[in-house]
Amino acid sequence: MAERQSPLGAFFVPGDHGNAAAGVGVTLRERKNLSIVQVTAWIDTIPAVLTAIGSATGLVLQNKPGLGRVAGEKSVFGFAPGRYFVVGATPDLELRLRSAISSDLGTMIDLTHGRTVIRIGGPGSEWVLSKLFAIDFSEHAFPIAYGRATLHHDIHANIQRIDDETFDIYVFRTFARSFWQTLGHAAAEVGYRVE
């Protein structure tokens, strides 16, 4: 099978960058080989869709704004009423969801080829992301596993908190290289490692 090319290309340079005196404030990496599916429930089928996502992925969600769950490579989070990102490392994710969610329950679109997922971790991650997005990254406002939809300079992004100091950022694949460079500039102050 052909290997999917990363849009980061030559701008993905493993190693330490930025302010060496500060140590490694954040670590940046690209999550690869994921399946990313957006599921949308009709206005009166949200609980049924959440049950179906649960049966297809093992990740069961309550109907609450932004709520999400993470288990290893798998994750799911809401980012709008009845809309969910469902992510996994298995290529059959879309098929499994399609067999669980008929058009009576909702719709889905495979975003795998349209998004790039960047994982930022480390003690400086809240600080660095706060330079780019006008939302509150503190853990009480943005708890673990929750998702957010927001903007970076008019470019849409979905963000999920993975643990106390780790976030996954979903950006449009066509903007990923530009976003990656901006993220590097924002992280230079605290020192960053690309791996």
């Binding site: 206005i43 704004p65 932004g66 980012f79 709008a80 009423p81 809309r83 006008a134 939302i135 406002a141 957010r148 939809a149 927001t150 903007l151 008019d154 849409h156």
Partner: protein, 95 residues
């Protein structure tokens, strides 16, 4: 200005797109009353105080909102999902 989206929570106005007066009433689609259509398309009361307006949270959950905003002070007194407002009107209630 910050708008507290019912789904996303408080967000900067940069994430929202203004979509106009939410107090207008569209004439029946089959209506040929020119004055009613003219008023619907062009007439605005331009009140100085509290006003109901549509906003789109394009930089977040992408939902249409009904916002009640004081046009002098920008103070926002209520925000609701437009689909909830429409549902309550269709149920015979008042928005």
């Amino acid at each position: 200005m910050i708008i507290k989206c019912p789904y996303c929570g408080p967000r900067d106005v940069i994430e929202f797109i203004y979509q106009g007066d939410a107090t207008r009433k569209r004439p029946e689609p089959a209506s040929t009353d020119q004055a009613a259509w003219n008023a619907y398309v062009y007439d605005r009361t331009n009140t100085g105080g509290s006003h109901r307006e549509f906003w789109l949270h394009g930089g977040g959950c992408r939902q249409h909102l009904v916002v009640t905003r004081d046009m002098s002070s920008h103070a926002i007194s209520s925000v609701a999902l437009a689909r909830d407002v429409a549902a309550s009107i269709n149920d015979g209630g008042r928005a």
